[in-house]
């Protein structure tokens, strides 16, 4: 069975500071990793994904994520946070041979303050 862990319920950062939202995963086979963002009363929006290749992937709104196979992690990062980045962030995983099944973590609330 595949699973995702997001160990922090909430992350607080000051605007302009770098941010990191943590994610670890467990799958059989090659992992495909995703980050989604959810604003209040909205559906989930895709940010970025790792499939293969370069371990550092870049996505929307200046976000990036680093895949680390040995640590089974896929942390979301941004060099300089904005107040408008405040939202709920979900890490998700599927896998080769997993039949497109997409499993989500519990989410991390990001709060960026002035």
């Amino acid at each position: 069975a595949q699973s995702v862990a997001q160990p922090e319920d909430q992350v607080n950062v000051a605007e302009g500071n770098p941010l990191t939202v943590k994610c670890t995963y467990s799958v059989s086979g090659n992992p495909y990793l995703f980050w989604y963002v959810q604003y209040p009363n909205r559906g989930l929006q895709f940010l970025l994904k790792y499939i293969t290749g370069d371990n550092l992937v870049k996505g929307s709104y200046g976000f990036e994520a680093e895949f680390n196979k040995s640590q089974t992690s896929f942390h979301l990062k941004k060099p300089s946070a904005l107040v408008s980045d405040s939202a709920l962030y979900f890490c998700a995983v599927s896998s080769s041979g997993g039949g497109n099944k997409l499993t989500f973590g519990t989410g991390t609330q990001l709060k960026v303050e002035l």
Binding site: G98, L102, F104, G107
Partner: protein, 116 residues
């Protein structure tokens, strides 16, 4: 490109009543998912369709929940009878099939269900 459409956006019902949600995926997307998102939790997969066949319904409470996807396009999710713990946002998502699981899913805005 039109997104995933869901209706209604909000629904309030009394426990033991029935309710149905509708989803229209992105045109051409063969895979359709229904997720349940309880407040404060991540989305939980209820059922996954490929075209009009069920791929995974292992977490669907089949004594009260049912879903169908006629003709491999639109889908409906039904709850009968509803319980208080069914209060949640029900999200529909779709992806093209044949991409080996590495294509991102596109989500609708969800239906917020409140059972009182």
């Amino acid at each position: 490109e039109a997104g995933v459409a869901q209706s209604p956006r909000y629904k309030i019902i009394e426990k033991r009543q029935s309710v149905a949600f509708w989803c229209n995926p992105i045109s051409g997307h063969a895979t359709l998912y229904w997720y349940q998102q309880i407040l404060g939790q991540g989305p939980k997969l209820l059922i996954q369709f490929q075209n009009n066949g069920v791929v995974d319904d292992s977490q669907l409470p089949k004594d009260r929940f049912s879903a169908e996807r006629l003709k491999g396009v639109d889908s409906t999710l039904k709850i009968q009878p509803a319980k208080l713990e069914d209060s949640a946002v029900y999200l529909c998502a779709s992806t093209p099939w044949g991409q080996g699981g590495y294509t991102e899913a596109f989500f609708g805005q969800g239906t917020r269900l409140t059972v009182v």
